[in-house]
Structures are given as structure tokens and as C-alpha cells.
């Protein structure tokens, strides 16, 4: 959980803090190449997710896809892209760790992470399925979740650089919707394996409290984005301004 939520963002922080400020010319020089790599990563990460059978790997590959989108936002080098990248990093930290926690709840019950062994969990674990639904929708960048805001801002930033990249990265949205809905349907809906149904008790008090703690920022940040954005406005304006000033004097 910590790895997905914190350590993945260190790379993004590094790009924001180091590459864009005192290595601006090199960033401008390499930006098309990195954007191409990140674009390939968005599409390839989402496509790889569709093939996975292990629950944890599905979420890990979806993290890869989201982080590649963040890199696309960072290397668009304008304020909207940077804000979207920061916001998506914050949102992904909450949602990804929540999803890993949900997988951990299931693993606690049945000690297997293979997707084919599960089905119909909504009948026996309704509270958990509700929370898992909200986190799955957030992973898919459903409007009303913070991932959507981050993604919209990133696309606003990319649009100012190149519309071709934008067009291709929207394939990432479609594929992320595909694997997210795929995962949730396979897990929560479908036929319940009645032989093992007794093992699937609903989320107990400890798990519910952790889910609640992660649910509140998901909904809150999705609805009111100013909480994060007004803190980051000045800093990111400085970085983007510094970048364009360094480029202008080049």
C-alpha cells in the first residue's frame, strides 16, 4: 500500500523538482521522446492490465498506466499539465492504496488472489462491494472522483502541446474503463461460488474504518478540488514560469 501510494510519486516529484527547474533546456529537448514513451506506457499498461489474472497485478499495472499519464502531464510543461499531474498523483495515492487494501481484505478471507476463484461477492459482502465500487470508479477516472480532475487537467495541458498525443492518450481512458469494469464485474457480480460463501464475511469494524478513511478523501477531493489546487497554484506557477523563462532566454 505504501509503495503504491508514496514511492511511485517520488519519481513524479523528482521530475517536477529537478528536471523542470534547473535542467529546463534538456527537458525541452527530450520532451517529445519522453512524451512518446509515456504515451506508449499509458496504452501498453492498460492493455497489459486486461490480460492479468492476479488481483494485485491488475492494480499494479493500472498504477503503471496512471503514472505514465502523470509523466505526460509533467512534460507538457504548462501550468494545467503540472497541476493535473500533481492532482492525479494525490488522487492515485489514495485510490491505489485503497484498492490494494481491498485486495488484501479478500486475500484475508480466501488466501488466493486469482480472479477466477471469485464471483458474486456483492451478495455476501455488500459494504465491501460498495467501497470497492467507488474505488474502482475512481481508478477508471469517473467524474466526481479526483482522478477525473487530474486527468482532465493533464489533457488540458497536453492539448496545448500536441493534439495527436491527446487523441492517442484518450485510448487510455477507454482501456482503463475496460479493465476497471472488468475487474469489478468479475469480482463482485456474477455467480457466487456457494461452496466457499461461508468464508466471505463482510468487512469487519477495523476494515470498515480503514475503508472509510480512504473513502472520504476520494469523494471529498473529487468534489472540491480547491483543497489541493489552491496550495499548489503558486508553486506550480513558479515552476512553469521558470521553465518558460529559461526557455525564452535560451
Amino acid at each position: 500500500m505504501l509503495l503504491a501510494s508514496l514511492l511511485l510519486k517520488l519519481g513524479g516529484y523528482g521530475f517536477l523538482r529537478f528536471s523542470l527547474t534547473f535542467l529546463s533546456e534538456a527537458t525541452h529537448f527530450f520532451a517529445p521522446a519522453v512524451s512518446a514513451l509515456a504515451l506508449a506506457g499509458v496504452v501498453y499498461g492498460s492493455l497489459s492490465t486486461l490480460r492479468q489474472v492476479d488481483l494485485k497485478r491488475i492494480i499494479a499495472y493500472s498504477s503503471v498506466s496512471h503514472m505514465n499519464l502523470v509523466v505526460l502531464g509533467v512534460f507538457s510543461c504548462n501550468q494545467e499539465g503540472l497541476e493535473g499531474a500533481t492532482y492525479l498523483m494525490v488522487a492515485h495515492g489514495v485510490v491505489s492504496s485503497a484498492l490494494f487494501f481491498c485486495v488484501g481484505v479478500i486475500y484475508d478471507r480466501a488466501h488466493s488472489r486469482l480472479l477466477r476463484y471469485y464471483g458474486g461477492l456483492v451478495t455476501v459482502m455488500p459494504l465491501f462491494a460498495t467501497a470497492f465500487l467507488i474505488f474502482s470508479l475512481a481508478n477508471m477516472s469517473f467524474p466526481g472522483t479526483p482522478n477525473f480532475i487530474g486527468e482532465v487537467l493533464i489533457f488540458a495541458g497536453i492539448f496545448q502541446r500536441s493534439t495527436a498525443v491527446l487523441f492517442l492518450s484518450t485510448a487510455g481512458i477507454i482501456l482503463s474503463a475496460a479493465f476497471s469494469v472488468f475487474l469489478f464485474n468479475r469480482l463482485a457480480f456474477g455467480t457466487l461460488k456457494t461452496k466457499y460463501a461461508a468464508e466471505f464475511t463482510d468487512a469487519n469494524r477495523r476494515e470498515c474504518s480503514i475503508l472509510l478513511v480512504l473513502l472520504v478523501p476520494t469523494i471529498l477531493l473529487g468534489v472540491s478540488s480547491n483543497i489541493v489546487l489552491e496550495v499548489t497554484h503558486f508553486v506550480l506557477f513558479d515552476i512553469s514560469h521558470y521553465f518558460s523563462a529559461a526557455l525564452g532566454s535560451m
Binding site: G11, F22, L37, A38, G45, V70
Partner: protein, 52 residues
């Protein structure tokens, strides 16, 4: 990566962020240092070819 930082320290003489901000770096050195940093960050937040 660390080699990039050591090279940067060799050139600039200080790793103070504000000093680094105002230091003019030549283009080829900048590209080299950028590549070193980029490899580190690309592995950390999985970029596509380095995502494992």
C-alpha cells in the same frame, strides 16, 4: 542517479538548490545530467520500458 549528482557537484561546486537554479549549464552537460536523473525517475514511477 548518483553519478549524475556527483557530476553535477563536480561542475557546479555546490548542491544547494538555489545555487543550482541560477547556474548556467552548457547544453551537452545538461543533457547528460538530465539523462542520469531521468533513468532514476523513470524506474521509480514506472515509465514504459523500465516499468518492472
Amino acid at each position: 542517479m548518483l553519478f549524475g549528482m556527483m557530476y553535477l557537484y563536480n561542475i557546479v561546486g555546490s548542491l544547494n538548490y538555489y545555487v543550482l537554479l541560477t547556474y548556467p549549464l552548457a547544453s551537452t552537460e545538461q543533457n547528460l545530467i538530465w539523462l542520469c536523473f531521468f533513468l532514476a525517475f523513470a524506474v521509480k514511477m514506472p515509465l514504459f520500458p523500465f516499468h518492472i
